[in-house]
Symmetry: C4
Subunit: 215 residues, 4 copies
């Protein structure tokens, strides 16, 4: 159903989802993904709800507007947008330069966030991989990542994130406790690199079992 | 040998088995899988005994009746139904809406069940992945999973499970100590999602090493 | 160079090696594999030395006699039989019904054997996967696995194994300390199943960290 | 753009990079790789900066001279040599017989080096896999691996390595703290085998948690 540049974008998103599936970051039909339409910047390609990510294909992407409504030609029986659509649309509203929002639901993002919710954030520092985040030219910095409580009501999540966004500090993603990671970027490739960077940081910190993680 | 809808169903079952094999949940020809025939609801497709799951193919599925007898046209030299066939047929009898029963034999299902048999059950709570179980709309619940002793005599296993089934609480699967996980669902996709949900829970709880797991 | 049944056997051996490579059990050109020729039971197909197992192919198998000498038509520049050829030929001499000998060099076989050499053996018990060993009909048994010191001189290894073989207890494989696992079977499929069974046991025991493993 | 032997060499390098990617050693566009040109030994094929290694292809290799300058026909918009090009060129200068330099950025190389920087080196001993290093005929030896602090300024790194190289001891690779592993060899296959050998050693030592690793 997508044509032209949006068809290329859709294919890139599908390839990225299958890559994450191979890493075991998308269990049991969880996770959701989006990208801003190349042809209409007020519209967004987003993964529909309930699809086994090991079988995810082009037809499993739908088009929504900035309020999360499905465009009429994508309204088909059984097709729903992700339950977390509101997270995507809110991020696009807050960060106008963001063109892709990605989510992973790995064992480590789930458990780190569950164990460390009490601290409300994690600070990563000193590892070369920090250069994986857009704009970082050195490993000698501190990267703050918010952790907010899980809720089935999206406005709760966005409200808890708000203070972090308002500090003006560069925030590249956040954790929802017991639920996983959201990140974003200027394009799908950048957002994908941010997922990989965060997941690698989770694996390093888990391996080192430093102050964090014990619960 | 399968035709029509059963051929499609058989192909879906094979694809699911190969998916589990890739996850390392099917070591050394262990594990068994079934689905209710689309064409004859009193018959069941089931994996035959002793097949290397990395090579599992359509011809390795056979058709049995509700007593576990192999249908005559599938009786070939060397072809046996799984030693655990009785677990499958008993679950279909108890839950008439179930159309697929799947088993995984992962390192974590084996060791969690071996270590925690003394508690007779595990309770999972608080993680978003709990929504992977059919009917769950929130992570704010407790999911009970029975653990029963291993036995080479299937009626022992079913007898020990019986009290759990009779509570009326929603049970989506159980562990046999040192042996692995059985789960089920209204179709193969749902049962597959349940396997992924349980295995993800095992990985999270192992990573967190909370009260459970130490032995 | 292989023809007829030996060509089929060679293909099965290559497929098995590539399977092990995918599991990360064959690092850095280590490991070696053999099977008794179907056409000449006094000859053996064996992997040649120094090949990257991620690229292993039919031409990397050579034919040796029971003394480990390469058959003349397989003697090519740069082609050597494995440094551990003597382990294979000695096992075939001791167990006339064995038709395949396989070796894995996994992280867990390496470290378990290195840490537990002081006990000279490991005993596995109580797990369903024990039925993966030929002849076992129950999980309620104890399986002894010898551990012998590593040596670059094969007769040392065989001498240390000898007392275990002479007990008459069923031994399905052994560990060389800091070096890995050898196992065997009546055919390639059985020996492969034994590798999978042992490696699964190593993973379970590592996860449980019971008396064993700490060093 | 490569022709003849260099085209074959480039294909081998790409295959090696994709192999490492499958092992999860190349997160978030990190890592870099090179080989000495077969056709002009004063020139080197090297991976260009910023490429997703899961999509790395022949066109992502460029040709540089021994000072790290990109050859004119490879200078295209957006094409930069790796930020760590200087590490490669310095290794080729110091070791004239080296024809390939490879880098991995695994979780274990990152965390081992971060935790053990205080000791300035790691010594590996006693494991069979040590024979994976060129020239080793036995496991009964000690292999020294330097660890140097991370820096965004390459001459710092080379200065800290210098004392290790000057001992004359055989050094097959080094760790940059929190950043990963560099190794090399007489050809791509040897350097690849060295990466596998080191990564396997990291996994073994992590599993054994001996004196090292805790931080």
């Amino acid at each position: 159903m997508f044509t032209g540049d949006d068809k290329i974008l859709a294919a890139e998103l599908v390839e990225t989802i299958r890559f994450f599936e191979q890493k075991n970051w998308t269990p049991a039909t969880s996770t959701n993904y989006s990208a801003r339409s190349s042809q209409n910047p007020g519209q967004f390609l987003i993964s529909r709800s309930g699809v086994d990510k090991s079988k995810f294909k082009l037809d499993d992407l739908i088009l929504i507007n900035s309020e999360g409504d499905i465009r009429s030609d994508f309204r088909l029986p059984g097709v729903k947008s992700s339950a977390e659509t509101g997270i995507h649309t809110e991020i696009y509203k807050r960060f106008p330069l963001v063109n892709s929002v990605l989510h992973s639901h790995s064992v480590l993002s789930t458990t780190l966030s569950f164990c460390q919710l009490k601290n409300k954030k994690v600070i990563f520092e000193g590892l070369e991989i920090l250069k994986g985040f857009e704009g970082n030219e050195t490993h000698e910095l501190q990267q703050v990542m918010p952790i907010v409580p899980n809720s089935q009501y999206i406005p709760d999540i966005m409200r808890d994130l708000s203070p972090f966004f308002e500090t003006g500090e560069p925030i590249h993603g956040f954790l929802i406790a017991g639920h996983g990671l959201y990140t974003w970027g200027k394009d799908v490739a950048t957002a994908k690199r941010h997922i990989e960077t965060f997941e690698f940081l989770f694996e390093c910190y888990h391996t080192m079992r430093r102050q964090l993680w014990e619960c």
